[in-house]
């Protein structure tokens, strides 16, 4: 039982409508019933309706596992970083602080860290993860790279992220605007400083032809409204 290599997870924040179907569905899981392992946040609700769903990115070299003093976090051969193993986890919270994506959560009542394991109970037996199955705008998508290429001609997947000096590669992909040239890299640190406008929120994608020039609709559509 493992997740087939040709099936990948794609997150397309530009498509997220913030409905929380993923969060509600995640909490139905038999392995963490009642708790959702997905983080869904508004970027800045006062300024935009843009929301971002965050699942575990399943890093090639998981920082959470590297900092775990009890060796409780394992990455299986299919590239899935599993939730903490109960007999080992000492609920120290190192992983919670170290994860660049802010994914693991400490469940103090149970004295364990829990996080998204890409619905291992489903994906390892050929099903799609619950969140990507229900997501009504398919901001969360699970399938082949070819399917994604056919469905989203205007964007492309990247799995490389810059956090300060740390570059991270992940099994999970994020969709970014398609540009000519090499695969782009998302500079998360730089993006933290961007202020959203009512219409657009842009990822800081670094790479050829990816200037941060404003796009139509960036301005305030209500500028002329008198009250």
């Amino acid at each position: 039982m493992s997740v087939p290599a040709h099936l990948e997870f794609f997150v397309d924040p530009g498509r997220c409508i913030g409905c929380q179907a993923c969060v509600q569905a995640c909490s139905e899981c038999d392995t963490h019933r009642g708790d959702s392992m997905i983080h869904l946040e508004y970027v800045d609700r006062a300024r935009s309706v843009q929301t971002v769903p965050v699942v575990c990115m399943h890093c090639d070299r998981p920082t959470c596992a590297e900092v775990c003093p009890a060796d409780a976090i394992k990455r299986t051969a299919d590239g899935v970083v599993q939730s903490a193993r109960k007999p080992r986890c000492i609920a120290c919270g190192n992983c919670v602080m170290a994860c660049p994506f802010g994914v693991p959560e400490l469940k103090l009542d149970r004295q364990i860290m829990m996080k998204c394991d890409m619905c291992y109970d489903r994906t390892s037996v050929g099903k799609k993860p619950m969140c990507a199955t229900v997501c009504p705008s398919q901001a969360l998508f699970f399938g082949t790279r070819e399917q994604m290429h056919a469905l989203r001609p205007q964007s492309m997947p990247t799995n490389e992220f810059q956090f300060g000096a740390q570059t991270i590669r992940t099994r999970v992909n994020v969709m970014v605007p398609r540009r000519a040239g090499t695969a782009p890299l998302v500079d998360v640190t730089a993006a933290m400083n961007a202020e959203p406008t009512p219409r657009t929120v842009r990822l800081r994608v670094v790479g050829p032809g990816t200037s941060g020039a404003p796009v139509a609709g960036d301005g305030d559509p209500f500028a002329a409204v008198e009250i």
């Binding site: 929380q20 179907a21 209500f222």
Partner: protein, 755 residues
């Protein structure tokens, strides 16, 4: 005697809304079976599988084989299963009893039915048949809506039946009837992917019909330009290509202004207009009254955006136009809808692949529920109760004399005015919570209190059912089978997952029990929904909404059947048992029984109608005293009046209480900060809720969602103005004023979020 038996808080303590747990059962509970069915909430009718164990729904599994949603669900669909086995579920009949805890005491079901029979009979004997009214709903299966219409007309013999689709679908329905002669969206949603332009007018798609977002955005991936017309930057507006920030209540003017530009620029399909339509010249003449500057001035949409809309729409090769309650919930709702249809007809892009038009229905059976006779002016098959031929046909199916069929009744709001005037003394209501959902709902409450006898059929004690003399325990969607017709016009099958608990009964059985108790059981002896459907097939045959060729088996086999579906070729009368239905309307060369081959539209000449879609100012528009626009709508985690969703814990947690959305510029002017209590006041009343300060709404407009009752109900503020044709209430605009509240409202200390 339909006053509240005890005060609201005491009723709530016993009957809820209480919150369900966040999940059900333990992880060790393996389901015994999965039941393929559909969600109980909105008109998208997503396929879903319910996990069943020991006559209880314990969870869900996505249903990826249903082509419309392929497993996708919104949070309501995910958590809908928690409405079953709920502590508030009515499992017995109740009678009003001020001495009882919670104001109601249980009584045996048979006794309750006997009381209903006796009281309804007494009222009809004393005041006449028309002294009893019936209210239905568009979340009922088509079988139930059909039976309810038949029950009102042949058992009660009252003209006064109407339904909560009056709050929902009627503006679009009336416009469709005037323009096309048929009332259905033209195309399956899959047609949308590959189109050039999609115009979404007055529809918060992401929250009210979430699955549709994926279709729109998939079309966008393949090059479609998306135009969104809304006073709020909703999630689909966030990434659209052209945002039209229209002032509430000005939609018809915007459509006229856009069409004026299209005509000037020659961006219209003259050939299509000449060959397939009538009435264009009058519309063109009216549009000349809307030059760019005037249109921009009135609608609040910048001139360049109006020009851009005309260009995008006018020069497209294929297109879809969608609208929903945002332009329909107006005293000008039919005109607004006709304005959109004029843009579609002028473009000539209808009746072909990748081009369509439709209204996004709100309720589960918003489509089917408006076709088969619970509407006050209608008989099954979308027939007209005033048409002698239609009456004769349906009377023959029902085995009654045509002369005994009552004529048209009145709309749901007028029905309450009749109660208020003492003309209607008794009421039977199911699937309708007018105390929350109708505008100016304190009037509705006063009217309810005047009823001599009120019986409510409900599964939870809704805000309205609290006024009932007798409450009969009805069925949840998963406790019965039947059909509904979803947003695309696809007839689908709801399958039973569990039995009704306790003495609760399937709604159609209850209606028949009442008929029996009245001593008028003729025509109400069905043993199963399938039998009702078989009669409905015959009753709809030959009507525009012809279901004669649809069977439960065909629905299962095809994963739905688009009506009209004929059991005999309307041209030749030859049996057509394999007729697959009609996914796309108005295709060139298509035959329909009204046009009889003269054209694709449902009029004798086969041509579509342009209708002058006139702008008229809203009733109770903004004024010096009430300078801000108040508009209302939904949030994604709640549904309609909240009778179900305010009882589902995780959905309440997601968006616990109504908030007043306002722009920071307005908030600053009023001295209100995000999260502070704000009072919104109109000529009808005032409510105090917390402010939500966001840049995603017009600065001259405030928005409050409508899912709550009592002190939190925005429908205390809305105006009971109605469209003259469709009678839809004007929920989407009225003048209001807002001020910082002096402190928390009294309810804040006593009411739970869901109340």
């Amino acid at each position: 005697m339909a006053t509240l038996p005890v005060d609201e808080l005491h009723i709530t303590k016993v009957f809820g809304p209480h919150l369900s747990a966040s999940v059900r059962g333990s992880t060790l509970d393996e389901p015994e079976r999965l039941v393929k069915t559909h969600c109980c909430f909105c008109g998208q009718q997503c396929g879903i599988q319910l996990k069943v164990r020991q006559n209880e729904v314990i969870g869900f599994e996505p249903r990826e084989d249903f082509p419309f949603n392929r497993g996708m669900l919104c949070p309501k669909g995910v958590k809908r299963y928690l409405q079953g086995s709920h502590q508030d579920r009515l499992t017995r009949a109740f009678r009003r009893d001020p001495s009882a805890d919670g104001g109601f005491s249980p009584l045996p079901y048979d006794e309750a039915i006997a009381v209903v029979g006796r009281e309804i009979g007494r009222l009809q004997e004393k005041y006449g048949n028309a002294a009893v009214g019936v209210l239905g709903g568009a979340s009922l299966t088509t079988e139930k809506t059909y039976l309810l219409g038949k029950f009102a007309r042949t058992c009660l013999k009252t003209p006064f039946i109407d339904y909560n689709g009056r709050l929902c679908m009627v503006s679009a329905g009336a416009a469709n009837k005037k323009a096309f002669g048929i009332d259905r969206t033209t195309s399956p949603w899959s047609d949308m992917v590959g189109t050039d332009v999609i115009w979404v007018a007055g529809s918060n798609v992401a929250e009210c019909s979430p699955i549709t977002t994926n279709y729109i955005w998939q079309a966008r991936e393949f090059g479609a330009r998306v135009i969104v017309q809304d006073p709020r930057i909703t999630p689909v507006a966030r990434t659209c290509d052209l945002y039209l920030p229209v002032r509430p209540g000005r939609d018809a003017a915007l459509f006229a202004g856009v069409l004026a530009i299209m005509i000037d620029e020659g961006w219209i399909d003259r050939d299509f207009i000449d060959r397939h339509t009538v009435g264009f010249e009058q519309v063109a003449e009216y549009c000349r009254e809307w030059p760019l500057a005037r249109t921009a001035e009135l609608t609040g949409v910048p001139p360049r955006s109006i020009e851009r809309a005309a260009e995008l729409w006018g020069t497209a090769k294929s297109s879809f136009f969608f609208h929903a309650r945002g332009i329909e919930h107006h005293s000008n709702g039919v005109q607004n809808s006709l304005g959109t249809i004029n843009l579609v007809l002028a473009s000539g892009r209808i009746g072909k692949p990748k081009s369509g038009y439709g209204t996004i229905v709100g309720q589960a059976n918003g489509q089917g529920g408006r076709e088969h006779g619970q509407k006050c002016d209608q008989l099954p098959g979308w027939r007209d109760i005033s048409n002698p031929e239609h009456r004769k046909y349906v009377a023959s199916v029902w085995g009654v004399d045509e002369k005994d069929l009552p004529g048209p009744g009145v709309d749901a709001y007028e029905l309450f005015r009749k109660i208020d005037r003492g003309e209607i003394k008794g009421l039977i209501a199911i699937c309708f919570n007018p105390k929350v959902s109708l505008p100016d709902n304190q009037f509705v409450t006063r009217a309810l209190e005047k009823l001599e006898f009120f019986v409510a059929i409900d599964f939870f004690l809704s805000d309205t059912a609290r006024h009932a003399d007798i409450v009969l325990p009805g069925s949840l969607q998963e406790e019965d089978e039947g059909t509904v017709t979803q947003v695309e016009g696809r007839v689908i099958k709801i399958n039973k997952a569990v039995d009704c608990p306790g003495e609760a009964r399937q709604d159609w059985r209850i209606i028949q029990d009442v008929a029996r108790a009245l001593g008028r059981p003729k025509g109400f002896t069905f043993e199963a929904p399938r039998e009702i459907f078989e009669e409905l097939r015959r009753a709809s045959k030959g009507g525009v909404a012809d279901y004669s060729g649809i069977t439960y088996e065909k629905i299962e086999r095809q994963n739905g059947v688009f009506w009209p579906c004929y059991d005999a070729d309307p041209r030749t009368g030859e049996p057509t048992p394999d007729h697959a239905g009609t996914p796309r309307l108005f295709e060139p060369g298509s035959y329909n029984p009204v046009a009889k081959g003269s054209g694709p539209f449902y009029f004798p000449d086969g041509k579509a109608r342009f209708n002058v879609a006139e702008y008229r100012p809203a009733v109770d528009d903004v004024s010096d005293d009430y300078p801000l626009f108040l508009t209302t709508g939904r949030v994604v985690s709640q549904f309609l009046s909240g009778t179900q969703t305010r009882r589902i814990g995780p959905l309440v947690k997601q968006y616990p209480e109504p908030r007043l959305e306002m722009h920071p510029r307005l908030a600053e002017k009023l001295g209100i900060a995000d999260g502070e209590w704000a009072t919104c006041e109109t000529r009808r009343g005032a409510i105090t809720v917390r402010a939500m300060v966001v840049t995603t709404i017009r600065p001259d407009t405030v928005f409050v969602p409508y899912h709550w009752g009592g002190e939190k109900s925005v429908n205390r503020l809305t105006v009971a103005a109605q469209d003259p044709i469709s009678k839809i209430p004007q929920y989407k605009v009225c003048g209001c004023r807002v001020r910082r509240a002096d402190g928390p409202p009294e309810y804040a200390a006593v009411l739970e979020p869901q109340q």
